[in-house]
Amino acid sequence: MYGIGLIKGLGVTIKHFLETYVDDLRWLGRGRYYNEDALKIRQSTEARGVFTVQYPEEKLSVPEEFRYIPFLVYEENPDGTREDRCTSCGICSKVCPPQCIWIVRSNDPETGRPIPAPTEFYIDIDICMNCGLCAEYCPFDAIKMDHVYELASYERSSAHIYNKERLSKPASYYAEIRPKNYAREEAARAEKEALKAAKKKKE
């Protein structure tokens, strides 16, 4: 009969429609919205009913590997001074596809040798394509991808060139947003140091 397919199809829409109410009932009393636990389930493979998120009141959490605009990692010394991990080796600026990393390396005025720290470090974030290659290939774990994605600003021409000051963030921040990566890198580093120490001892 003509129309059976239509009616069946409308059945599916009605099911979807009713499901939104059923799912409301599931969260009755606890709140389906503005509730972290509910949000997790609403965005999981068990999701039913209304799928949207009430941004900005609700925000999706991002996975560890999420990448948005790089930042430079520095270590905090016990005396409060900062120590850049970056050695200004230039690999990140060479690997960057749109070539938006600009690094100024300085030389020791006396010996003329390069100093292993950048005097300045710029990223033009209008051009950065968030590919993450810089972070992937930095041999010193000095540049990493950030999780901050709300970067709208009123002033484009100057505000979107990040300098070293603006780019730098402490290692503790890195450990916080990327705990697994941080732990793995620290373990690798510790192992290397141990090996070195063992070698020295032998000598």
Partner: protein, 583 residues
């Protein structure tokens, strides 16, 4: 091709065309160099006598040091098997090659592209106009001696970035520097776009005698521009249609509004830098794009990824296919007038898959996940668990629901059955690929016909339907989701532990001189990357065979005789993404 077959083929070719065909003996090259004058004849014989009925790609290459232009043709048999590569060479300053449109109509857009970007003239082409660039463009940008505005150097990385990186913004430097070329007599005010006139005249007029239409009524044909800003065109795409009443009598697609010369950028980039750029071709399917490009470069480098990486690649590529097809079906329904409800139902599921991509690669759409000889990072354990739940439980249920929702729907059927028919012969001749080809009765799927990666290990069916209309293309996509889920189920069960990268990750890969054509069955059809290396850090030639672009070749044939409202559905059923069409 086995060695024996190659020898056999060569013997037959040499016998038939003595002296006109020689093996390409350059280091790292394959195929045959053909005498220009004999090209059409040889192509005809290959098509009619030897079964090479499918012209996959036409690529121009500028060999500046040898002062030569080369056109490379990749031919396949629709019955399956590897490529036969033909090449013709022509001098740079007067590049003329006979057109193959009469043998393979699928060469139409590709030859226009080579004319547009490289300035190779194709003699006998019925409508040789620029295709991606605007009519007023001066020069042919893919020529090696052509320099873009803001030109810095022949290849990246640029010297100005390190160690003395005094930053400057590109807009603050001279906005139209010395590299903008235009003829000396050019005045913007006085310029009349010739191309437009040529375009409209190419549409022609169909006369039924004394200006009357079929029914004998006195009517005028009118030309309607659909797009470039039109909700049905899925982006900035324009169709110029001639109408007789409501019926379409002529249609010319106009594209290039999103053109950025991806290939020129790619030739300035290093090999690795191109990986994130491929994401931006078909931005819905970045994983498949990565896959094709990685295959091409790996062929040149002679490396293979480890087992686990192969599995991860297949899992990602198949999830991408699911994402693409549900999106395509959703949008097709939009085009048919079912405003957004089916679309939003399927986007729910897409979101869940994008969450996986994000967890694995760090980005939902611009995945940049494949590396030469592996993948960027291992797949997290919990992401693998989520995939298992999705492919075993949730997605099959949702596909069935979609099936119940749409397939039997009488409105969908009336709008789609018998609309936009493409016959088997037309589909093959026009180099259609992917679901468009398979809905026309050609069971051609690169995963089966010329297996790459580890696809030969999985059980799946090549989906094929025979009516070649909008409805069949819809059905092919629906069934392909099921087949992808079948592959995924097998892959997540059997994925081994182990390494995910061959050798050490390198940011400057060493690519030996030579050429390679890597192709995958992307969700929209055959996606090929033709890469030529001269041993330097930047590819000498980087060409993309874009299914969204080539699948538009038969659009006119599909649309003629249909109603104006149907052209929207037909375009929707081809499933294009302008990022890939325009490149």
């Amino acid at each position: 091709m086995t060695e024996k077959e190659t020898v056999q083929l060569q013997d037959t070719l040499e016998e038939k065309f003595p002296g006109a065909i020689t093996r390409d003996e350059r280091q790292g090259y394959e195929g045959y160099i053909v005498e220009t004058a004999k090209l059409v004849e040889i192509a005809k014989s290959l098509r009619d006598d030897m079964g090479y009925d499918y012209l996959s790609s036409v690529t121009g290459v500028d060999y500046l040091p040898d002062d030569k232009m080369e056109v490379v043709y990749h031919l396949y048999r629709s019955a399956g098997g590897p490529a036969l590569t033909l090449k013709v060479q022509t001098p740079r300053d007067d590049s003329v090659v006979p057109s193959l449109v009469s043998i393979y109509p699928g060469a139409d857009f590709q030859e226009r592209e080579a004319w547009d970007l490289l300035g190779i003239r194709f003699e006998g082409h019925p409508d040789l106009r620029r295709i991606l660039l605007w009519d007023g463009f001066h020069g042919h940008p893919l020529r090696k001696d052509w320099q873009e505005p803001f030109f810095e150097a022949e290849g990246k990385p640029f010297k100005s970035r390190w160690p003395q990186g005094e930053i400057r913004r590109i807009e603050d430097t001279h906005p139209f520097g010395k590299n903008v070329h235009y003829p000396s007599e050019f005045t913007p005010e006085g310029w009349v776009p010739e191309g437009e006139a040529a375009l409209y005249s190419s549409l022609g007029k169909i006369d039924h005698g004394n200006g009357n239409n079929k029914q004998g009524l006195e009517t005028d044909q009118i030309v309607v521009n659909l797009g470039p800003q039109h909700p049905s065109t899925h982006g900035v795409f324009r169709m110029v249609v001639t109408l007789d009443g409501e019926e379409i009598v002529g249609l010319k697609p106009v594209m290039g509004y999103l053109h950025r010369n991806h290939e020129k950028i790619g030739e300035r980039n290093t090999y690795l830098m191109n990986m994130p750029f491929t994401d931006r071709l078909d931005y819905l399917c970045s994983m498949s794009n990565n896959f094709g490009y990685a295959l091409a470069v790996e062929k040149l480098m002679g490396i293979k990824p480890p087992e686990r990486a192969e599995y991860i690649r297949v899992i990602m590529a198949e999830l991408t296919r699911v994402v693409n097809h549900i999106w395509a079906i959703g949008f097709l329904l939009n085009d048919l007038g079912a405003f957004f409800t089916p679309m939003l139902y399927v986007i729910n599921e897409r979101e869940l898959i994008l969450d996986i991509f994000e967890a694995v690669s760090g980005s939902r759409m611009m995945c940049n996940y494949f590396r030469f000889g592996g993948v960027a990072r291992d797949i997290p354990e919990d992401a693998l668990e989520t995939i298992k739940i999705l492919v075993n439980e949730r997605l099959p249920r949702k596909v069935d629901e979609l099936d119940l929702y749409l397939t039997g729907n009488e409105i969908v059927q009336t709008r789609a059955i018998g609309v936009g028919v493409l016959t088997k012969q037309q589909a093959l001749a026009n180099s259609a690929a992917g679901p468009v080809l398979r809905a026309s009765g050609v069971p051609y799927d690169v995963r089966r016909a010329d297996p790459y990666s580890i696809y030969d290990r999985f059980d799946f069916d090549v989906v094929v339907r025979y009516n070649g209309d909008v409805y069949d293309r819809y059905l092919v996509r629906l069934e392909e989701i099921r087949q992808s889920l079948r592959i995924l189920k097998q892959a997540v069960e059997s994925i081994p532990a182990g390494e995910i990268q061959t050798g050490k990750p390198q940011y400057q890969v060493r690519v030996p001189a030579g050429e390679a054509y890597g192709r995958v069955e992307a969700p929209k059809g055959e996606l090929g990357f033709y890469v030529v290396s001269n041993g330097k850090p930047n590819p000498w030639r980087y060409h993309v065979r874009a299914p969204s672009f080539i699948n538009l070749t038969p659009l006119e044939e599909m649309s003629i005789g249909q109603k104006i409202a149907d052209v929207v559905a037909i375009l929707g059923s081809i499933d294009i993404v302008l990022g890939e069409t325009d490149r």
